[in-house]
Every structure is written in C-alpha cells, then in structure tokens.
C-alpha cells in the first residue's frame, strides 16, 4: 500500500528526517511511536507533501513524492493532523462537507455514519466549530477526513485530549476502519491502546525508524522501550 524509502524532510533549513524506511500493508494498522520531537508528525506531513521532502514515497505503487497535498489526497490518503485544524468559522456540518472530495459519490461513509459514531457532533452540528470543546474538535477532524473516503488514513495523536471512554471508542472504530479494508498509520502516545489495536509498531528516534516489529516483539524489547520510549 504505502512504501517509504530513505525519506528526508526539512523545515526550511533544519533537517528533521534522516532516511526513514517503512511500509504499511493494505488493511493494516501500523502504530508509529516515539518521543516528543522524534519526527513522527513530520513523517506524516512529508507523506502529505506538507513539508519539503526528498526520497521515495510510493502509494499503490505510484511515486507521490513532491506531489501537492491535494493531489496526494486525491490518490486516496487521508490525514488527521495533530493540531486539530478544524475550520473555526464554519459550522460542524460545513466542516464535514469540506471533507468530501469532488462529488463524493460512492463514498464508504455518509454524514449519518459520522453522527452515529459521535452523537455529540450531531448535537452541535450547526455551531461554529471554533467553539467546540477540545475533544469535540478531535472527533470532528477524524470524521472530516473519513468523509474524503481515503484508502489509507494517517492519524496523528487522535486520542489527545479525549476522555478515556472516548479513547476506547476511537480504538474500536479504528478497528472498524480496518474491517472496511482501510489501512491506518497511527501516530500515538498512549502505548496501551496503540499496542492493543495495531498489527505492527514502528518506533522513531531522532528522525529515523529504530524499531519495526509486532506489538508483542516491542513489549518483549525492554531496551527499545527504555531507550526510545522511556517507559519501564
């Protein structure tokens, strides 16, 4: 599905990613772990073409390095940023509308599916998104991306600021995505969930992948956990 080789990314002049390698298979949930500042979000942005990147990014076999974000999106990649970029002046519903690409026909998801998933959003559908609570905003970004009907979805810290209950909900519905055959690249802090739902775990440190294996392997690897995740 997604195949990344020797990816380098830059913020202006500062070199953040130093040759990242990994792949995400079809219908697979891959967790991308790491400390703050290790470069996970940058990886996501690089894939979306939001930061200048060098190297080889292939999606469905096609090279997408250097494409414009909207082109990448149209190839079928959805992106949920960490800084919940909801559109504050638009209503919840309008936000969702903007998620829809082109005519939006034949999409896997409808507005109702979204509202069904998070009833809270239905309640607030006509309020300006800017005033939503942190958590609600998080939900909104997720749904908005789904409306674009992606085949691969990159989610940057989806559970941040969500109440534990909702967090589990999110976990469930990531599984639901998987069930619908959508691949997920999950950037997470909360190991507990990440390891629980993901098929594979990547650990990132100082701008490159330092571990690639199953959750089980990671659990069994205290060195990586201590060195790169700082958890006992």
């Amino acid at each position: 599905m997604l195949q990344i080789d020797n990816l380098h990314a830059f913020y202006g002049k500062s070199h953040v990613l130093h040759g990242v390698h990994f792949h995400v298979g079809a219908g697979e949930i891959v967790a991308l772990l790491g400390r703050n500042g290790s470069g996970r979000s940058t990886t996501a942005k690089a894939i979306m073409g939001l930061v200048d990147a060098e190297g080889d990014i292939r999606f469905k076999g096609e090279r997408i390095t250097g494409l414009k974000p909207f082109e990448v999106a149209h190839r079928g990649i959805g992106y949920v940023p960490e800084s919940r970029d909801i559109f504050p002046k638009l209503t919840v519903h309008q936000n969702l509308q903007l998620g829809v690409k082109g005519s939006g026909k034949g999409a896997r998801w409808s507005f109702d599916d979204m509202y069904a998933m998070f009833p809270r959003l239905r309640e607030r559908r006509h309020t300006e998104a800017g005033v939503l609570s942190g958590g609600e905003q998080q939900m909104l970004t997720l749904c908005r991306t789904l409306m674009g009907d992606p085949d691969l979805i990159i989610i940057d810290e989806p559970t941040e600021g969500l109440a534990p209950k909702i967090v589990e909900q999110v976990a469930d519905y990531l599984r639901a995505l998987k069930a619908k055959g959508i691949s997920v690249l999950l950037i997470e802090q909360k190991l507990t969930i990440a390891l629980e739902i993901s098929d594979r775990a990547l650990v990132m440190g100082h701008g490159s992948i330092v571990f690639d294996g199953t959750p089980a392997e990671l659990k069994a690897n205290p060195y990586v956990r201590r060195e790169w995740l700082e958890v006992g």
């Binding site: 909207f70 638009l90 936000n95 903007l98 690409k101 991306t145």
Partner: protein
C-alpha cells in the same frame, strides 16, 4: 414631487454603481481576506479596455469582453504576484495591490494618455429611458423614452438617462449571480476554510491556489464590468479610480465585511443619502438661527457653522464608516467582528 422621485432614482442608481464595485471587493475581501487597493484600478481598466474594444467590436461585445479580459488580468496578477505574498500575511498582500494600483494607473496613462477619452454609450443607451412629465395642472405623467417636445413645451419634463437605467439592471443581475455563486457552490466554504488553514484544506484534497485565483479573477472581473458601465455613464479618465477607491472601502465596511447583502444595503443607503444630502442647504448655523439661537456676526462667519449639509455630502460615507465602526463594528449586516 418629481424632484423627490428623480433624486430617489439618482440615489439608487448611484448606489447600485457603488454596489457593482463593492460586490467584487467584498467577494475578494471576505473570501481571501485581501484588502484589494487596486480594485478601483481594475474598475478603471475595465472602462478603458471597453473603450478600446468598442471601437473595434462595438459596445455590446465590449461589454462582455472587457470584464473577461480584466478578470483574466486579475487572475494573472493573483497567480504571479499575490500568491507569492499570501504566506506573508495581509499587510504585504495589501501593499502589493497598493503598488499595483500605481502601475495600472501609469500603464493606462501610457496607452490612452493622461486626459479623458470620449467613451460614449451606444445609440440604444443614449437619451432617456423614460421621462417624468409634471404638467402645468400639477399632475404627474410618465412616458417611455424621450417625451414629445410639444408635451414638454408646457410641462416640466424630467428625463431619466438610459445609461443609468441600464446600470441598475446590470447591478441587480450581478447581485443575483453572486448570491448564487456564494451560497450554492462549495467554493465559498473552501476559501473561507483556506483563510485560516490553507494546508489543511489542501490536505483534504482541494486545489486551493486555483480557487483563490478564480475568486480574484471574478472579483476583478466584476470591477471591470462596473468600469465599463461607469465609464459610459460618467467620464473615462485616469482620475476615475482614485475618486471611487476609498468610498468603496467605506461601503464594504459599513455593510459589514464579507456580507454581500450588507454591501448592497450600504451601497444603496450611501447612494440615496448622499443624493438627498446634496439637496439640503442647512448648516448648523442656519439651524441654530432657525430654532431662534441668535448668532453674532463673528460666530455666523465661523465656517463650521456655515458649512451646509450639501457641501459635506460627498464625505458622508467616511463619517458613517467611522460611526459604524464605533457603534456596530460588525457593520450593518456583517456577521464577524473583525
């Protein structure tokens, strides 16, 4: 009696011209957040281009072509210049249009000279659209086109120029089309979203740059259209941009930034108020004397007491602008408090 009617018509038609300009500005302003100082320049450009074209292809074709060309020019400017500075924020955007207004002015003068050109309306638009006849026995009559001379011989005839009637027509058409564009299409949403989070909108699969270009093109195109009509109705000269530039800003703000209906309302209000203000010769002084406050010679000669409403009429818009922003910063129909 006919004085009131005519003044009303004049006011409304002038207001509608203002609207033709402010609509484009509102579009660009509300959607792109760009204070387009060159807007009036595009208005002027429209007039001149149409003037040049009408010599070749005739007025009516020019009426269609000129706005298109101006719109293209606008889009081109957006693509080549404005887009580059968009990331730097609003002040640079504003300044680059500022610079553009100089350049356009100079180019126009280079091509068409520094004095007015005679851009006359086509036969169809010459002469009055209708005439109000105020007969001797104090009854009002109404006649399409020019009223027969013999009638006007023993009655007061007040023709209403066809150009102005046409202007009103176009303006209303413009309002409708714009309204549809903004409400019925998703373009509006995309742009407003892109204002705050352009990257995110792109990441959702929308080609933001192209949409921006489109909007700017349309906005300037509208200015161009207004120019064609303003050009034939008034004078086509290099000063025509400067004269309207600031007023239009006043209109847009008074109406409420980003509110098309607001711009419409404000344009009409200003048009009408300005027109009627002209006809009022009262000054603070005259009012004071009217209500019996005795004014000494010295006082009466103070010019802020002598200043009549008709004299200040042309600057009323700025007065409203300030008052509105103080008492209702949203503007008349505005939604956001900038």
């Amino acid at each position: 009696m006919e004085f009131v009617i005519v003044s009303l018509l004049n006011g409304v038609s002038y207001g509608l011209l203002l609207f033709m300009l402010s609509s484009g500005l509102t579009l660009i302003f509300s959607m792109m957040g760009v204070l387009n100082f060159a807007h009036a320049s595009f208005y002027m450009l429209g007039a001149y281009v149409a003037y040049a074209l009408s010599g070749i292809v005739g007025f009516w074709v020019a009426l269609l072509l000129a706005p298109l060309l101006v719109g293209l020019a606008g889009a081109l400017f957006e693509k080549t210049s404005l887009r580059k500075v968009h990331p730097f924020g609003h002040v640079p955007e504003l300044l680059i249009t500022f610079g553009l207004s100089y350049v356009v002015l100079e180019l126009v003068q280079l091509v068409w000279g520094r004095s007015a050109v005679s851009f006359t309306p086509p036969a169809a638009l010459q002469g009055p659209a209708f005439t109000l006849i105020h007969t001797a026995q104090d009854t009002m009559a109404f006649a399409w086109g020019q009223a027969p001379a013999e009638v006007c011989a023993q009655a007061a005839c007040t023709p209403f120029p066809a150009t102005r009637a046409f202007m009103m027509l176009v303006a209303v058409g413009m309002l409708v089309t714009l309204w549809l564009l903004i409400t019925r299409t998703r373009v509006g949403l995309i742009i407003q979203a892109a204002l705050t989070h352009p990257q995110m909108v792109e990441a959702l699969g929308h080609n933001v740059p192209r949409v921006f270009m489109l909007v700017f093109g349309i906005g300037t195109g509208l200015a161009g259209l207004a120019g064609v009509i303003g050009g034939v109705t008034f004078v086509t000269e290099p000063a025509m941009a400067a004269a309207l530039g600031a007023i239009v800003f006043a209109v847009v703000v008074i109406g409420g930034l980003g509110s098309l209906p607001g711009a419409f309302l404000a344009s009409l209000l200003i048009g009408v108020i300005q027109t009627f203000a002209v006809s009022i010769d009262h000054s603070i002084g005259s009012l004071l004397t009217r209500i019996g406050v005795p004014l000494g010679e010295a006082l009466a000669s103070k010019d802020f007491l002598r200043l009549t409403l008709s004299q200040v009429a042309p600057v009323l818009p700025y007065l409203f602008l300030v008052l509105i922003l103080i008492f209702r910063p949203k503007g008349l129909l505005g939604t956001r408090d900038h």
